[in-house]
C-alpha cells in the first residue's frame, strides 16, 4: 500500500472526523496526499479515475477491479449480430496507469468499513481512503422471474453483461434452424440501457435476414411503451418487415414464469414458445453497494447529484448504473458524465469547497443495421426546487434525419468514449 501505514492513516482519519464535526470538510493532514479509492473499472469507475488525476495530479488514486478482462456492453449487440468478434469488446485500462499514474489493483472488494474508511480485498488486505467512489454496475435479480435463476442463466442467456453470456447467445442463434423464433423478454424500468433490448431485437433480425430469413424475433415486454418506440417501429418496418414483433404487457399481461426445459415464456394471458430464449431480468445495484447498505428499498443507491455522494453514508460516492440519478438513464454515457461531476466534487470537497451546480449529458445510439442508427439524448442540470436533475435539452433523432450519418457518428462515439473513459 503506497505510503501511509494503517496506524498513521487511522490517526489522520480521526483528525478528519473531529474537524468535520465543526462543519467543514477537510483535506487530510498536510504532506499526506489525499487518497481516493475507486471500486469497479467499468465506464463509471475508469472515467472517475482518469478525471480525478486530470483535475489534481497530486491525488493518490487507486482503481480496484475484480475481473481480468473488461468486455464493453456497448457494441455487444453488434457482436451478437456477427459483425465483430468478442475480442473487439475488450477495453484496456493500461493508459490510466502509464499516462496518468492511477494505481490499478486487480482484486474483489469484499467489505467496506465506512467508519474506519477502509476497504477490504478478498485476500484480506486493506486499503484506506479519504473518499471512496463505487461504480459496481448491476446485478441480475434472479429472484424476480419464476423459473429464471443463476443456474438457468448458464443455459438461457441474459447477455446483459458482456463476455461469456454474449457468446452463449451468439452460439445459440448460430445453431438455430431457419424458421425458428427468438424471444427476448424485456424488463420494466429502471434497468441498464433502456433502448438495449430493442437494439438487440433489431440486430438479431439483421443476422436472421442474412442467414435464416424465415425466422423471427418476438419481444415480450413488461412495459407498455419503450425508448425511441416510433423510431424503432419505423426501422423494423423499413428494414425487417414481418420479422420483429413487439408484444406489450397491455396485451398479454406480465410474465408469470419461464419454463426453462421447454423454452416457454408464460404471461398472464399467453404462452410463447421459443427456439432461442433471451431473458433480460429486472436488475439491482451491484452486490457490494447493497451489502454496504448504500441502496434503499428500490435496490438502487440514492445520491446527491451535485457530488454523487451517497445520501445514506458520507464520504462514499456512487456513480453509473448503481446510483439513482433520475431522470438520467443507466448508460455508459451517463456513467462517464456522472464520473466527471463526481471527480470535480471530490476535488472541491477535499479542498474544503462546496461543489457547484452540475451539468451532465447522456446520449444513447442504437443500431438497426450497419448503415442505420437512431439516438436519444438529454442535457441535465440540478433543480434546487426539485432537488434532483432535470433535462434542459435533448430529444430523439428527428423522423426525417439521415440514419446513415447517425450510424457513422455512432461508430465514432464508441471510439471517442473509449479513449475518454479508459485512456486506451
Amino acid at each position: 500500500m503506497s505510503g501511509i501505514t494503517r496506524r498513521t492513516f487511522l490517526k489522520s482519519a480521526g483528525t478528519v472526523g473531529a474537524l468535520s464535526l465543526l462543519g467543514c470538510t477537510v483535506a487530510p493532514s498536510k504532506g499526506a496526499k489525499a487518497k481516493v479509492v475507486i471500486i469497479g473499472g467499468g465506464y463509471g469507475g475508469s472515467t472517475a479515475a482518469k478525471y480525478l488525476k486530470l483535475f489534481d495530479p497530486s491525488l493518490d488514486v487507486t482503481l480496484i477491479e475484480k475481473r481480468k478482462t473488461y468486455y464493453s456492453c456497448p457494441g455487444s449487440n453488434e457482436v451478437i449480430s456477427g459483425w465483430h468478434d468478442l475480442g473487439w469488446l475488450v477495453r484496456s485500462r493500461e493508459g490510466l496507469t502509464t499516462r496518468l499514474g492511477v494505481n490499478l489493483v486487480r482484486a474483489k472488494v469484499v467489505e467496506i468499513d465506512p467508519q474506519k474508511r477502509i476497504v477490504t480485498l478478498k485476500d484480506g488486505s486493506e486499503i484506506p481512503y479519504d473518499r471512496l467512489v463505487l461504480s459496481p454496475g448491476v446485478d441480475m435479480r434472479f429472484d424476480a422471474i419464476e423459473g429464471y435463476d443463476l443456474k438457468t442463466s448458464k443455459l438461457i442467456p441474459h447477455a446483459w453483461k458482456a463476455g461469456k453470456q454474449t457468446t452463449l447467445l451468439l452460439n445459440q442463434l448460430k445453431a438455430m434452424r431457419d424458421g425458428g423464433v427468438v424471444i427476448i423478454t424485456a424488463p420494466a424500468g429502471p434497468y441498464r440501457c433502456p433502448p438495449g433490448p430493442y437494439e438487440r431485437a433489431s440486430l438479431i433480425a439483421n443476422y436472421l435476414k442474412r442467414s435464416k430469413p424465415r425466422s423471427k424475433v418476438i419481444i415480450v415486454d413488461a412495459k407498455t411503451q419503450f425508448s425511441k418506440q416510433a423510431l424503432f417501429l419505423k426501422g423494423w418496418q423499413d428494414l425487417y418487415p414481418g420479422m420483429v414483433e413487439w408484444v406489450s404487457s397491455e396485451k398479454v399481461g406480465q410474465i408469470d414464469h419461464i419454463n426453462p426445459s421447454k423454452l416457454i415464456v408464460a404471461t398472464e394471458f399467453n404462452n410463447f414458445r421459443a427456439s432461442v430464449l433471451n431473458v433480460i431480468p429486472p436488475q439491482k445495484a451491484g452486490w457490494l453497494a447493497r451489502k454496504t447498505e448504500l441502496a434503499d428499498h428500490s435496490r438502487w443507491c440514492p445520491v446527491d447529484p451535485r457530488s454523487f455522494e451517497s445520501t445514506l453514508i458520507p464520504n462514499i460516492h456512487i456513480i453509473g448504473d448503481a446510483c439513482i440519478a433520475t431522470p438520467m438513464p443507466k448508460s455508459a454515457f451517463s456513467a462517464n458524465s456522472q464520473a466527471k461531476i463526481c471527480a470535480a466534487a471530490i476535488v472541491d470537497l477535499l479542498n474544503g469547497r462546496q461543489p457547484g451546480p452540475p451539468s451532465l449529458i447522456n446520449h444513447c445510439y442504437s443500431f438497426l443495421a450497419p448503415d442505420y442508427a437512431i439516438s436519444i439524448n438529454g442535457v441535465y442540470e440540478y433543480s434546487v426546487a426539485e432537488r434532483q436533475l432535470v433535462a434542459t435539452g435533448g430529444g430523439e433523432t428527428p423522423m426525417d434525419a439521415d440514419r446513415g450519418r447517425e450510424a457513422e457518428f455512432a461508430r465514432s462515439w464508441r471510439e471517442n468514449i473509449t479513449a475518454d473513459t479508459f485512456e486506451g
Binding site: F333, G356, S359, H363, R405, S412, E415
Partner: protein
C-alpha cells in the same frame, strides 16, 4: 409623509409582495438567477463524443483550438436551427449564451 422605519417584518412583507407581483409575470424573475455550472463541468460532458479536451477521432469533429468566434457561431447556429445537425441541435439548446462563450474559451486552450 411620515417616513416609516423599515423593520424586518416590513422588508419581509415587501419581498412577499414583490414575489406575488412577479409571479403574475414570470416565476423565474422572482428568484435570484441561479449560478451556472462551472465551465469545466459544462465542457467535460462534451468529451463523451468530442474526445478529452475536444480531441476527437473522426468523423466527429474535433472542437479544441478553434477560434472563439467560430465555436460560438457553430453553437448559436445549432441552437437556432440555422445549421442542421440531427445530434447538435438537440444538445445546443440547453446552453445559455454565457455557457457557450465560456466553453469557446475553454476549448480554445487545448
Amino acid at each position: 409623509m411620515v417616513q416609516l422605519k423599515p423593520d424586518q417584518s416590513m422588508i419581509k412583507m415587501t419581498i412577499l409582495l414583490l414575489a406575488v407581483l412577479s409571479v403574475a409575470t414570470t416565476v423565474q424573475a422572482a428568484e435570484p438567477a441561479a449560478p451556472r455550472p462551472s465551465v469545466e463541468r459544462l465542457a467535460h460532458a462534451c468529451a463523451g463524443c468530442h474526445g478529452t479536451h475536444g480531441h476527437a477521432i473522426a468523423p466527429t469533429p474535433s472542437i479544441h483550438g478553434k477560434p472563439e468566434e467560430d465555436f460560438v457561431k457553430a453553437m448559436q447556429d445549432f441552437k437556432s436551427g440555422q445549421r442542421e445537425s440531427s445530434i447538435m441541435n438537440r444538445i445546443a439548446r440547453a446552453y445559455t449564451n454565457g455557457d457557450i462563450d465560456a466553453m469557446a474559451q475553454f476549448f480554445k486552450k487545448y
